[in-house]
Symmetry: D2
Subunit: 261 residues, 4 copies
């Protein structure tokens, strides 16, 4: 043990195998689903079944946002220049900066502030105070107001439905709705909870670490990024000019899960 000795609480490897937070990886394989092992690695404990279902749902909700997402376009641009699949994926990952993906973490902070301070005062007043603080500090309240969807994003209702079905405590969901109302009072504008805000509220409900929420989003979205990079590498001519809006979908027709039988 030398001067540079250090410790990790995540995992260990030995001749007997790999352990993740104390659990034998071999036991986890085929027994615990991937999103739950991710939760174990990120938080230190396996999730309860209702939490496991929500983690999986949040990851599926984040898996792709079409070929016009900046991260997909950057990955395709790199692939078009001849990058490997991994290098193209890295270019996409680097595009998920403070305007593209970081919103969930900001929203979690605001929602937790409201939920915490509502223990000592009415929820409405707690939300008003946090909204006033953020506006005073010039911080945008990410997670509220629709950037991309003119109409209500249908992913929201589904996520809220699953959260209720999972019997989460509900205080952070209420805090998110209180922020929405406080923003209306403060700005006069409709700034409804958006997909980032909904995911933030649900991650708060299941005690997901705030500082890893972007990591969760990045990991889930990496799926779409890899798929776009791969399509570019295998199907498109090199060095093409990639238009960010002039594209169409030419895949399988609209189909319904119920058809699967």
């Amino acid at each position: 043990m030398g001067d540079l000795h250090w410790e990790t609480k995540l995992s260990t490897t030995s001749e007997n195998g790999i352990r993740i937070r104390g659990y034998d990886l071999v036991q986890l394989i085929g027994t615990v689903p991937f999103p739950s092992v991710l939760y174990l690695l990120f938080t230190g404990e396996l999730p309860e079944p209702n939490v496991a279902k929500l983690i999986d749902a949040v990851m599926v909700a984040s898996i792709d946002h079409g070929p016009g997402a900046p991260s997909a376009l950057a990955a395709r641009t790199a692939a078009s220049g001849g990058a490997s699949l991994g290098a193209a994926a890295a270019a996409g990952l680097l595009t998920m900066g403070k305007y593209h993906g970081a919103a969930v973490q900001d929203a979690m902070e605001a929602i937790q502030q409201v939920a915490d301070s509502s223990k000592n005062q009415a929820l409405d007043r707690a939300a008003d105070a946090v909204v006033a603080d953020w506006r005073k500090a010039g911080r945008r309240l990410s997670g509220f107001g629709h950037r991309q969807h003119k109409h209500k994003d249908p992913r929201l209702e589904r996520l809220f439905e699953l959260a209720h079905a999972a019997n989460v405590p509900g205080d952070h969901l209420q805090a998110a709705h209180a922020i929405e109302a406080a923003l209306k009072r403060s700005t006069g504008k409709d700034l409804p909870i958006n997909i980032d805000g909904a995911m933030a509220a649900i991650l708060c409900e299941i005690n997901f670490p705030v500082s890893l929420s972007n990591g969760l989003f990045m990991l889930a979205r990496m799926t779409g990024i890899i798929a776009h990079a791969h399509e570019e590498i295998t199907q498109m001519p090199p060095m093409r000019r990639i238009d960010p809006v002039d594209f169409d979908y030419a895949g399988p027709a609209e189909r319904d899960l119920t058809n699967i039988g």
Copy 2:
């Protein structure tokens, strides 16, 4: 529709939501598990239940390999220099190059060659021919021979067990074993199937696209990379000298899944 118009077969967004390969994302959320939606995005179709279970198993088997893996060390080094979580994860991702992660793809190619050519000749002769070809071309047969585990990697037996339980056809698993035997005949050395070879054989069994196998591994391992980068950012002093071997595990003690109840 301009000169640069292009098409994708992956996904589409509209005011009505997001569709992945034709399926409404909202229907997928909470209904189809994340690894299966990944399979849908990567291959175009949802997996059968037995395939879904194997994809999940391969992803869990790849999720982390301890703090000494080059990708974890690179991510920690970047984090220690002050990189953001995403930038540190990108440094880790870029480390998964041809010696670290690409083995699965190479092994899939060899296994498919043997399985294909065994339709016209005995399996042993097919394996002998492929091994001879690869050796002549100076290509290392990744997926065979243990780099890291002196003893049998316990993940292998678990994966094979799950593959048999899933009732896969089995011809690619047989091809992998035939390569192991052919290598022994050709080199005189024991070069048993390793974890990369086992995952390759299973991905062949479920028709996973060869050119996306590294993508699958990178995505799964990104979980470990993000966890290591996050621990470095939140728990370690900046600009520390990161020893690649002088570390210990200081997390939860060894524990058993059966304790969960």
Copy 3:
């Protein structure tokens, strides 16, 4: 000195300062120009004055190729998503793959093969043989044929002029011209030396390491990438759709070096 002890031939730091390939960095600062110190670090020796001039010229010729270059677009896309200057630059760097920047290295290989084999046979026959080999192997002869400039790229003439003024031996320049003629004989098409081929010939003339030629190009072009990422970060709205062709130059009007006085 432990089991992992290793050695470098590049540089060393101590309490007395930094030495690059044996030279005290302090002596180099303000005495030897940056491109020559780069040459020292890359090759092990300081360049002769004529070589120093050519390295500088090749670097200036590579410094930027306008906002439509894939690497500039990828860096801007990442910046637009909120990436830091460094992360955006990395996305640009990753875009310089085998179709965008790697041409110089390929061309150097072909030119060296012709120059080497012309020692035993007529230059024309040497070029014919190399062209035949590359075409048989299905390799594109990068460095010949104009991708981007319909007319003669004016950078070429300037680089050749400087090479002649520098009194380089000239055999690799002749080899490059011999390849151009051999391509005409073999394909019937005009595939004139392009900027990549010209830089390749000059780098061959000054014994620049083939395996570092892409590194030289990437480093020089990183200047443009950083400038584009910085303009995006400081002047453009976040999350904008970046059109790859619909842009104009709005900087200082055309001006002449001779006006500088």
Copy 4:
């Protein structure tokens, strides 16, 4: 001209060639040195000769810091995993985060604040006020105090010597010295100007844009990063454990510039 039309002030390409900030690139090649064309691209104007000399000097001073620098280690780690030269360089670049390279920008901000506010008050009081503000805000005054060199970093004296020879105005150099003195008064500790502070003061003297100072450092250091990645790729075994301190220099012996003749 469509909805997404946008403008750049950096450069333009046409059939007639490439123009950088209005200058024909062909005229610049072989006439204006690389660091001066970089200055043109970054700032909009060519530097005066004394400024050109200082830019070059700052770039040479930043070109490498030995194999133990985190960015060199990350690039080597990625290369050891099988990354390409560009991907390994990107891993190194991403390591130049807020603790490794960003110091110059922070120091420029502090120095400019002192120089600006000293127009209305004594320099000492201006420095005291800025030091008090930064300490109150909990910001570390980068650029002061030696992290790596126990003794005086010999690069400093050389850079100051060149700055004086270049006849810079000197007010920002004085501001840097005033901060050093104010830190002594405020903390009781010796926190002398370090290499980051010296480069910051000089970049302030020549009106280099603060928001591009990290870009300049990253670009210069990318030279060392590429050299280390290349040595790893070409000279070292794959997947080796890279010790961050247990290495020696085995290159050319110490030599003197004056020997060059």
